[in-house]
Every structure is written in structure tokens, then in C-alpha cells.
Symmetry: C2
């Protein structure tokens, strides 16, 4: 982390981009599902509780546009579609681990405050 000037402002904007990408209810669970080896639409859908097919399609498309996942078609009968993390997507892992870990600490602290 740099403390002053243009580099710092650039990093702040970059952090906002990252936050915007992972915001919402679904994207982190979807990425984690693929990290854990789920590749096909139906597998991801079962792994991400309560997501509708329409929402899953939409979120997978957004993640693909943002170069987090790739979509691969296989010439089988019927056609097989598999999703994988790109190197950029795979590089999110440490950020997601930190978010889950710190989020858990934060939630516990808030619950303690209200008891």
C-alpha cells in the first residue's frame, strides 16, 4: 500500500472496481463453487443455494465479461458447457479467503456488541 499521490488514488479506484465486481449476493458463491471444482451449469446451480437459472446465467455472463471465468463448449451429444476460472479469477482466491475470514470476525464482533 502506498501512502500518497497518484499511485494511491489509482489503487483506491482499483479497489472500488474490485468491490463492484464482487458485490451482490451471488458472485462470491459462484466463484467459490468453481474454485471447489464445479464446472457445469447444473453443478454450480446446486452448489449456490436458491439461485434461479436466469440469475445464474446472468451472473456467469457478467463474470465471463470481466475475465474471471471462461466458458468452454464440448462437441458431445448433447453439447457440454463447462465453466473454469481464468488465471485472473484464480488469483481472487486470497482476497475471497480474507473476506470470508474477516467477515466472520466482523459479524461476531457486531453480534457481541448487541448482546
Amino acid at each position: 500500500m502506498k501512502t500518497t499521490g497518484t499511485d494511491c488514488q489509482y489503487e483506491m479506484i482499483a479497489a472500488q472496481d474490485a468491490l463492484e465486481l464482487i458485490q451482490g449476493k451471488w458472485r462470491i458463491p459462484i466463484v467459490l463453487s468453481i474454485v471447489y471444482g464445479n464446472k457445469r451449469f447444473g453443478e454450480i446451480r446446486r452448489a449456490v443455494s436458491n439461485i434461479s437459472p436466469k440469475m445464474l446465467s446472468q451472473e456467469l455472463k457478467a463474470l465471463e465479461e470481466n475475465k474471471i471465468i471462461t466458458r468452454q463448449l464440448y462437441d458431445t451429444m448433447p453439447i457440454t458447457v463447462e465453466y473454469s476460472l481464468t488465471p485472473l479469477g484464480a488469483s481472487m482466491r486470497q482476497l475471497l479467503v480474507e473476506l470470508l475470514n474477516w467477515g466472520t470476525c466482523f459479524r461476531k464482533a457486531l453480534i457481541d456488541k448487541n448482546n
Copy 2:
């Protein structure tokens, strides 16, 4: 990270809480400003470009309510007010570092895509 069941769902909710806390334009720069040693309202305001006094007050209050910072009054003339990170706030550091680092990679990848 756990892969299944209640623990996993709990972590997802916790991650959403964390995201909600750090969303928006100002909170990460404010927390970083205090990490870097700015303690007083005016110092934080100068460190966080373009924030209005009203917005800074509002965001400091929200961070205080969420146990990220504490506000300490000193019996000087005039009264001195200093903000510090709580242990919970200080524990965000690694998450913020990951967010800035990964955000920078993500932004570069998106810019490369569009060139």
C-alpha cells in the same frame, strides 16, 4: 474456507456483511488514512481527497457504530478529538491490502482487454 453446509453459508453471509461495510467511495480511504497515522478530523479530511466535512462526519460515525474506529475526546482547549482503529479495525489491514492488490490486477486486465 469450508465447502459445504451451515458453516459455508454463515461465511457467505459474513462476507456480505464485510462487503457492505467497506462499500462506497469513502470508507476504505478513511480507514487507510487512520492506518497511516492520521488521527484528527482535519488530518483525515486532508488525506481523503475531496470528501466534504458532512460526509466525513457521517462515515466516521458509521465506522464507529460498526466498531472499526473509536473516537477519543481530550480535555484540552479547544477540545481535541482523535480517531483510532479498534483491534477489529486494525485487523482489516490484510483484507484491504488484498483488495488494493487484486483490484490493481483486475483493472489492468480489463484495460488490456479493451486495447
